[in-house]
Subunit: 289 residues, 2 copies
């Protein structure tokens, strides 16, 4: 199971209703995608424990996507006598911007591809078109091996043999070799994709292929296509077209310009193209299984 | 008139109820004392316009007192095509920490004494004992000249002569010299003093002499005197004793540790010594005349 909490959903400038970008992902481990100003207080407000965060992923080096990391670092340092290692994955040169560097921090430059793997899932980055070094992220649970239990038992598999066959790919029972693929099938894991800030681009389509959930920016709505292109952002409609093309199962729009007090117009234009669309708001919790 | 708005009243770490230190002062001009993380959003929440800020004063270089300045700078830059000059008064080395430096910013190192003067008031700094370079601030309205109107009219003062006598100190009417002090009195201006973070110290007593309002930190309450000394902070009782000794008219306690969910115990211990004490909370508005 993966729990997502939207901690901030505004673009560039916060509003009274929307804080700056940050998404908490709690599966086996706890991660953050982006960490805008105020993220630590949003975590308190929405009861997302911050002491457990294993890694933070910064999509690009615009201040609204990473300023909150400084305050969070101080709070971790001050509020615990035994603060755990915290990894920060960020674009090139983030370390020069880190004004409070402590031993428990480990900064790693983002390059496209696999960034991190835990026992349940991996997180990878892909390039998107926005500012110089801008990335989107993929959270992908590992495939799980599921046994055709009746068949496996019928062939004599018992107890520890299930572990053995998963490790070796086969077991021998009474001189007969039984292959893993003969008694099992692979259940795909959840896949959640986050666009970061970007124009609607091919790399996001590729990344989002068959995703259970695509979280895409929608800074603008219809009528602002020119601004969206000029500033390397997307409209709600473009995000919906992308989700459709990628065959994603669900789309959540975030990173809304402050001009959309009521996001219904964005929702309407997106749902015409991709019906299973929602608009993120601060505190929105999603549980995926 | 001076309007004060407490934008953040927590110490070191924010809570759901209290954001990090920042106080808006709106007299003739608009100033900020400290600018903790989230200050810009607090200004939106409490309807304190941020486009009008002329100067920000950072009491010391602990992150909880200045992180909000980065986000505020970005918002000023993005939200207006003609952003006005913004002065930042901060302790030595702040400029090295400023990751987003723009032409409209002017950073000035704080040294004790007068920092700024507008047509209505001046702001000065005084050293306090906390971290290496730590300051408190004094907002002092200029004295106003008030005329004994009947007397002045009786001596023949009319129209433009009131301006002339204020500028020269005297006017001549029918060959007779009339001195300003004979027809006027000086009305002292408002004085508001902010301690920043500090142990209870002599310099704050001196600064707060006869102040209309003393805003003093009260990170701790009774029973934490040892911690207060170790960490160079004050207890509510110590702040009250200081206010009494200085002869301040009113005391507001701020910068409360997160352990005081209900600040009543702090209020009680302070009011026993200095009855005209209040506890600041986020959004508290004070109008002084």
């Amino acid at each position: 199971m993966l729990r997502l909490t939207f901690l901030g959903t505004s673009a560039s400038i916060p509003t009274v209703e929307r804080s700056l970008p940050a998404i908490s992902l709690r599966g086996k481990e706890h991660y953050l995608w982006d960490c805008g100003e105020g993220a630590q207080r949003q975590m308190m407000r929405y009861r997302v424990g911050f002491g457990s965060i294993k890694a933070i992923f910064i999509s690009h080096l615009h201040l609204d996507h990473f300023l909150g990391i400084y305050g969070l670092i101080e709070t971790l340092r001050l509020s615990s006598s035994s603060v755990q290692q915290l990894k920060i994955f960020a674009p090139k040169r983030f370390e020069e911007l880190l004004i409070n560097k402590w031993d428990f921090l480990e900064v790693q430059e983002i390059k496209p591809g696999l960034l991190l793997k835990d026992s349940e899932a991996s997180i990878s980055a892909f390039r998107v078109v926005h500012s110089k070094e801008s990335f989107g992220f993929i959270y992908a649970e590992h495939e799980k091996i599921k046994f055709h239990e009746a068949k496996a038992h019928g062939l004599g598999l018992r107890g520890a043999m299930f572990k053995e066959i998963q490790e070796k790919g086969h077991v021998k029972i009474g001189g007969k070799k039984i292959l893993l693929e003969d008694v099992s099938w692979k259940k795909p894991g959840l896949k959640v994709v986050y666009s970061g800030d970007c124009v609607s681009c091919k790399s996001t389509i590729n990344a989002a292929k068959g995703a259970d959930l695509l979280i895409h920016e929608a800074t603008f709505g219809s009528g602002f296509e020119k601004e969206a292109i000029e500033r390397n952002h997307s409209t709600a409609k473009q995000a919906a077209q992308l989700a459709k093309e990628a065959g994603a199962k669900k789309l959540i729009l975030t990173h809304l310009s402050g001009r959309y007090k009521d996001a219904k117009s964005l929702l309407d234009e997106a749902q015409k193209i991709f019906p299973n669309t929602s608009i993120a708001e601060d505190g929105l919790n999603i549980e995926l299984r």
